[in-house]
Amino acid sequence: MGKEIKVCEFGVTFHTAHGPVSAVRDVNTVFREGEVTGLIGESGSGKSVLGMAILQLLPANARIEGSCLYGDTELTALSEKEMEQIRGNEIALIPQNPVESLNPVLRIGRQLTEAMTIHAPGKKAEAKQRYQDLMSRLGFSRPELVSRQYSFQLSGGMNQRMIAVLGLMNRPVWMIADEPTKGLDAILRRQVYEVLQEITMRDTRNMILITHDVALARKLSQKILVLYQGEILEQGTVADVLDHPAHPYTRGLIGSLPKNGMKPIGQPLKGREDITGGCVFYLRCPQATKRCRQEHPRESGLENGRKVRCFLYE
């Protein structure tokens, strides 16, 4: 049975004291097996919310709309108890901010064991063997020693690798990595890249990589989704989206990278500040027309399975 993740008319709304805030809207995509899909976009674009919504790891004031099929299981219809069987076992997460994701008062070994025994009580010995193997593979020379330590005794790079070990404990079918290189220096970033590459080569090729690091997404992914203000503006193969971006926003994003000369995307144009209801990129789009101001563009299909949400490609 195929275990692809298919989301249809998927959205997330937060109900706040100031009214509803729509964080992700109208997402239609398939995360295919055997493929790393990179989710790129600015902070606040909704990429982490989309990833966390698949795992239903959202605050209590969040409402999920639409459908998220995992194989033939509708994840949005599952109870919390059933969802617990999916998380970690089937779809695992490498969370943002490793230090905050590890418990500072429990030894590393206990946390790693717990990740397995919570799903399969009595597998303590197996868990120990598993984490020792994984730790050696991910570059820990003395797993026995490190497993008796606490997270605060490890360096940032070691903690980052440790949460990858944690995610892999139950041999998940899918892996979601959330901003794995945020705030890391060049040397640590390369280490993280190597760990993720190792995972895709030996553990699972089914991965969703959430990142603002376009270079990392290019190296690891086969497919790219570009998010902006909660909507996917462009999706397609890495070569199509990153080398020949179609949507004006993707073009701007690629052009703003240091190696492409750091040309900034325009700021909201004068007189357009208060416009809502049209295209989400209308405020900053250099190619916007009158239609973009009033009408909300739908995704247009191009060659090679690429989809672009822009009237230029209708």
Binding site: I187, R189, S256
Partner: protein, 260 residues
């Protein structure tokens, strides 16, 4: 090493002790000297924890150096009394990595920006001061309706530009930029760094940019210094660092960065 740059540091050192039972001495910064000519930008790169930010804090007088001295336009500014340091602070400003912690969460943006001008006695009266802030907001592409907002109501990119605007109200000669864009996205980073470049040309500013992003440093800076373990091990132009790195650590850093 001479002191004739706009900003110079000579033999700057700082060590800390850590541990309770077994006290260990950690050299955060070891004998660092450099000089930045007026109107140019110098970059410092290195791994996390190499002492980059400690240098920035010592230059600003936020922590006292154990040894060595800091010179601004030929005048020694390290070891000054608090009152004397106040006049110096107007000339040298720092932008931190997390703009949201540089703004008071309980005050409106405009109040936070005006406070710096009031403390330093820049311009007379609120109207004149507000007019100056409006000019700077315009220059940085910020809308004046942000004046009445609180820090939690604005984006990271806006907050960082507001912090830059606040620093510029004091008409400083030197800006220390400590990882100013490392928590921001590529498009916002490009916007802020391009603005800072334009401001440098318009106002003749001198910059010290601390970053772990070599591509950013190469694009922005005239000279780049590489730090590891508290020591400045190599300085050079963009070409020297990228194409002819002398130290093994510099080579490793360059290789790691361009492995992508």
């Amino acid at each position: 090493m001479n002191n004739d740059g706009m900003l110079s540091v000579r033999h700057l050192s700082k060590s800390y002790t850590r541990g309770v039972v077994r006290r260990q001495r950690v050299d955060a910064v070891k004998d660092v000297s450099f000089s930045i000519p007026a109107g140019t930008a110098m970059g410092i790169a290195g791994n996390s924890g190499c002492g980059k930010s400690t240098i920035a804090r010592m230059i600003m007088g936020l922590i006292p150096p154990d040894d060595g001295a800091v010179f601004l336009d030929g005048r020694q500014i390290s070891g000054l009394k608090a009152g004397e340091m106040k006049t110096v602070r107007r000339q040298i400003q720092i932008i931190f990595q997390h703009p949201e912690s540089s703004l008071d969460p309980r005050r409106k943006i405009i109040e936070s920006v005006l406070e710096a001008m009031e403390i330093h006695g820049v311009k007379q009266g609120r109207a004149q001061r507000e007019a100056r802030v409006e000019e700077l907001f315009e220059m940085l592409g910020l809308h004046t309706r942000l004046f009445q907002r609180y820090p939690h109501q604005i984006s990271g990119g806006e907050a960082q530009r507001i912090v830059i605007a606040r620093a510029l109200t004091l008409e400083p000669k030197v800006l220390i930029l400590d990882e100013p864009t490392s928590m921001l996205d590529a498009s916002i980073q490009a916007h802020i760094l391009t603005l800072l470049k334009t401001l440098q040309e318009a106002l003749g500013l001198t910059y010290l940019l601390i970053s772990h992003d070599l591509e950013v440093l190469c694009w922005f800076c005239d000279r780049i210094g590489i730090m590891t373990g508290g020591a400045l091990i190599e300085t050079g132009t963009r070409t020297e660092i990228l194409e002819k790195p002398e130290q093994p650590f510099t080579k490793k850093l360059v290789e790691s960065f361009f492995a992508f």
